[in-house]
Symmetry: C2
Subunit: 109 residues, 2 copies
């Protein structure tokens, strides 16, 4: 197994509350993406809506995935005022969410 | 926004049952990785354990992320005997899991 050096992936699964206006969802996604510009440790961002056909998604509607160069970077991001402000914008619109961070290991067999 | 063409990401968050032997967990992770060799549509695999410090992980302990070239590829993978066999090996060892698939969109602002 080979661990990718210096990369930490921050995964958030979220379900927006029913009735959240699509325009607001778009705006919140752009706000999330803009944290790449506002917080130095956040290096990239990608997202998508659930396309699962296995019915194992537990109602989550969106995935947000951002990358950081280190655990220290992620810690700095979490405490960053721009992140705190953004969290206060998105969280009231979510019915539920889960966040997990991991250092990716690529396995070659 | 820019959607990455022809890439579908399959994200699984899992919590192994308490007491699952670490050797068995290692073996199951290698088995997951080996699906890259056994199923043509699965193109890559990476995984990691939860390092989150925000206490928003809802007890999930592992992330498994695999990529597929298309939705059709993912459908083929799900039905593939090697995947079905593997699912029957790992699922009895999981306390809970969630699976979500998405086409990643990179946002540049």
């Amino acid at each position: 197994m080979e661990e990718q050096k210096g990369v930490l992936i921050h995964v958030m699964l979220a379900k927006f509350k029913d009735g959240t206006p699509p325009d607001l969802i778009d705006q919140l996604i752009k706000g999330f993406a803009n944290l790449v510009n506002l917080t130095e440790p956040m290096k990239s961002f990608r997202w998508g809506t659930d396309l699962s056909i296995e019915n194992l998604d537990q109602g989550f509607t969106h995935v947000f995935e951002s990358t950081f160069e280190s655990a220290e970077g992620l810690t700095g991001y979490i405490a960053h005022p721009a992140h705190v402000e953004y969290a206060n914008l998105i969280l009231p619109n979510l019915e539920k969410f889960v966040v997990i961070d991991y250092k990716p290991t690529i396995v070659r067999i």
